[in-house]
Symmetry: C2
Subunit: 469 residues, 2 copies
Amino acid sequence: MKTAAIIGGGVIGGGWAARFLLNGWDVSVFDPDPEAKRKIAEVLAQARWALPMLYDRALPAEGRLIFAATLEEAVTGVDYIQESVPERIDLKHQVYAQIAAANSDAPLGSSTSGFKPSELRDGMPTGGRIFVAHPFNPVYLLPLIEVVPGDGANEDVVARARNILSSVGLYPLEIKKEIDAHIADRFLEAVWREALWLVKDGIATTEEIDNAIRYGFGLRWAQMGLFETYRIAGGEGGMAHFIAQFGPCLEWPWTKLMDVPELTDELIQKIGDQSDAQSGHLSIRELERLRDTNLIAMMRALKARGNAAGALIADHEETLPRPDTRAVPMITIRRVIPIDWTDYNGHMNESRYGQVYSDAADETMVAFGADADYVAAGLSYFTVENTIKYLVEAHAGDACHVTTRILLAEGKKLKLFHEMRRDADGEVYSTCTQFLLHVSLVTRKTCPPRSDVAEKLANLAATHAEGAS
Amino acid sequence: MKTAAIIGGGVIGGGWAARFLLNGWDVSVFDPDPEAKRKIAEVLAQARWALPMLYDRALPAEGRLIFAATLEEAVTGVDYIQESVPERIDLKHQVYAQIAAANSDAPLGSSTSGFKPSELRDGMPTGGRIFVAHPFNPVYLLPLIEVVPGDGANEDVVARARNILSSVGLYPLEIKKEIDAHIADRFLEAVWREALWLVKDGIATTEEIDNAIRYGFGLRWAQMGLFETYRIAGGEGGMAHFIAQFGPCLEWPWTKLMDVPELTDELIQKIGDQSDAQSGHLSIRELERLRDTNLIAMMRALKARGNAAGALIADHEETLPRPDTRAVPMITIRRVIPIDWTDYNGHMNESRYGQVYSDAADETMVAFGADADYVAAGLSYFTVENTIKYLVEAHAGDACHVTTRILLAEGKKLKLFHEMRRDADGEVYSTCTQFLLHVSLVTRKTCPPRSDVAEKLANLAATHAEGAS
C-alpha cells in the first residue's frame, strides 16, 4: 500500500487527499488548523460523490486517512509529499526543512501558484526533489497539474512524481522553463484583470461576463484550447493565415497599455511549426468535425442536466414542432440520431434505442395528459419491462421517427408497442414492447392514474384499438 | 415564411446562413466573391451534419437558399439583415448605404468584432436599426451573440432583432455600453497575447498551452464562467473572501506592464453584490454540486468519444481493476451509477440499463477472447433482442455490479442472462435476457466466430452450465 503525505488541508489539500484516497492510496494529513479535519471531511464527502461517477469501472477500495500529530510523523516513510500551505516563502521553507529531517527521498510537490521552483528550492536541504505541482479546483475532478521542475531538479525524482500523478488520474503537464505564475494562471489573471475593468466601468455584470464566456469560447476551450481552435479559423491557410487576420488586432487601441510581443516572421514561423506538430495529422475538415463532435457531446450532456448552454438548447427545443400524436398509430418521435449515441461498432448503441422508446413513452404520456405538470404533482409511469428487437443498424445523422400504439390501458397497467423507422425509406430499425405501471412519486409505489388522465387514456386506447382493426 | 439576408459569405456569413436555413428561414446571400457559393456550401454541409444532432426533436424543414445577384436584390423585403463583410469601416458604410436604399426597416446586425455601433452608424441613413451582433465560430452551434445597440439605437428594432436571434436558437447577450472589442474578444485577446509571449519565450508549445487550457480551467469556463467559479473558491466567505485571497496577485511582478484596476472597497462591493444577484439563490455547497455535475457530464461525454479530457479519463480507467470474469456466474460490471444516467423521475433512466447490459456483454466477449483486437480485425457480436425487467429503482451514486451467465452459445448465436445488483445489500435492480448474433463488421452480415474464439466460448459456456446445476 502506498502512502501520500498531504501538508496543509483546506480546499486544495483536501482535494489532493481525495485524489489519492479514492485511488486506493493511504493518506496522512498534517495541518495545525483545528478546523482542518472538518474542512477535509467536507471536500472528501463531495469528492466521494463525484469522482467515482467519472468512470465506467469501480475505483479501487479507498485508502486509509490518517491525521498526523506532527509534520515529521506525517511524512515519515511516505512515497509522495504534496505541500499546500499558505503562499509565504518563509513558511514553505520552514516546512521543507522539517520534512527533510524526516523524509529525504520522496518527491515533494508544491501546490504554489506564485513561486518558482528555484525560489522554493533556494537553500533547502534535499532541494532537488522539490518541484511545483500546481493543481486546479476541483482537484478531485480536473486532471491538469502544472509540473515545473526548473533548473537543479532531480530528474529521476520528478519522473517518479509524474508517474505517481498519472497513476491517480492526473495529467502532469511539464513546463520547460520556470516563470512567474507558470502557464494557466497567467491566462486566468489576464482574464480576471479584464473582467474587473468591465465590471468597474459598468460595461457588464458578473453574470453577463460569465454568460459571455460559457455560451461561447468557454465551450471551445474545454475541448481544444486556443491554438487548435484558431487553426480551424485559419482554414486551409493554417495558423499563418489566421495570424495575418487576427494579429493586427494586437495593435488596436484597447491594447495600448499592454506590452505586446512583436509578430515577427520568426514568431509566426515558430507558431506555425508547433501547430503543425500538434494538429498536422488532421485536415482542417477533420479538425472541424472533431470540434463539432465534442461541442455536440458536451452541450447535449449539459442539456440532459438542464444546465448552462444545455438549458438554452432545451428552451429552443421546446419551440420546435412536436410530432403528431393525433395520428393512429401516433407519431411520438421525430429526430436525428446524434453522434454521441454511436459506439465502437460505428452504429447506434443498443442502449440508445431504450432512450428513444423512453422518450416515445414520455410523448405518449403527454398525449393523454400525463405531462410535466402531472409529474410535478407527484404522479408518473415507470417502465417495468422492455423487449427490444434490433433489426437494421442505425447511424449518426439518420433522420428517423417512432410510431406508438397503445396495446393495453387497464388501471395501473399500460402496454405500448413502438416501431422506430428511417425517414428516408420507412425501413424499420427496431421495435419495442414496453410495459409500464402507474406510480406515485411520493410513495414510489403503484397506484391508479388520476381520473381525468385515466379517461383520456381510455379514449386514446379505444382510438388505437379501432385503428388497428 | 421569413427571410434573412446574409451580406458577406465566408465562414462567418456561412454560419449565419446555416443557422437561419436550418431553423426554417429562407436565406438570400450576397457576396461578390466568386468562391462564395463553394465556401457557403462547405459550411452548410458541416452545419447540416452538426446542428440537428443537438436536439432531441427534429428541426423544421430547411428554408430556401438563394444567391442574389446584387446587394439590393438580397435585402429587398427581408425580415432580418446580417452583415459580415471585411473589417473596414469604409466598406461597411458603403454596404449600409446601399442596403438603406432597398430596405429601410429590417434590423441590420453587424458581425464586427472591432467596431462600435456608433462607428457603424456614423452618418448612415436609417442608422438607428444598425447594431453589433457579434457571433462565435462555429456560428451554427455556439449560442452566444454579443448584441451592442449603443446610444442612438432604435430600441424597438433591437428588441425585434433579439427575438429573431432567440428564435433560431441563439443567445443574444445585450451589452449595456459600447466598448472596443465588446466583451468576449477582450478576454480572447488577453489570452492570445499571453500565449504569444509564452511561445516566443520558449516556455511552452502551442500544444502544451492548449492542454493547459482544456484539461483545467477550460472545463470550468464551459459551464460556469469566471465569477461563479470563483464564488465557490471563496467558500462561505463568498466573493469578497475570494478577492481578498486572489486580488493581491494583481500587483505581483508579472503584471507590471499592465494597467490594473485598483481594488477599492467600492469595486469589491460592486462585484459582491452582482455575484449575489447572479448566484445567491444557491449555497456554496449547491454551486459546488452543480459545478461537479456539469464537469462529470461533460467529461463523460468527451470520454465516450475518446476525445480531449475524456481520453485521459479513459486511459486511467484502463488501469483500474477489471471485474472477475472467472467467477460463475461471471462478474462483468462493477461501477457506480453516474449522475448523467438519471432522469426527471430522479432515478436511473430505463435506457441506461441497456448501457449496463451492453457493457456487460462487451466484458463477456473479452472473457472468451472477442476483445478489442478481435473487433479491430472486423468481427463482433450485435444484439438482436433484449428483454429487460425493471425491479427496483437505482440512483446516482449507487455502487452496483452485474453477474452474467451464458445461457446458449451455438454457432453464431449467443444468449446471455444478466442480473444487476446493488453492492450494499445484493438487491436485484433489474435483469436482462440478451440475444446476440456474431457478425462480420465488413459485410455487416452474420457469420460464425473465429475458431479460437468459438472454442473459448464453448468452454466458458460449459463452465456456466455446470455452475447452474
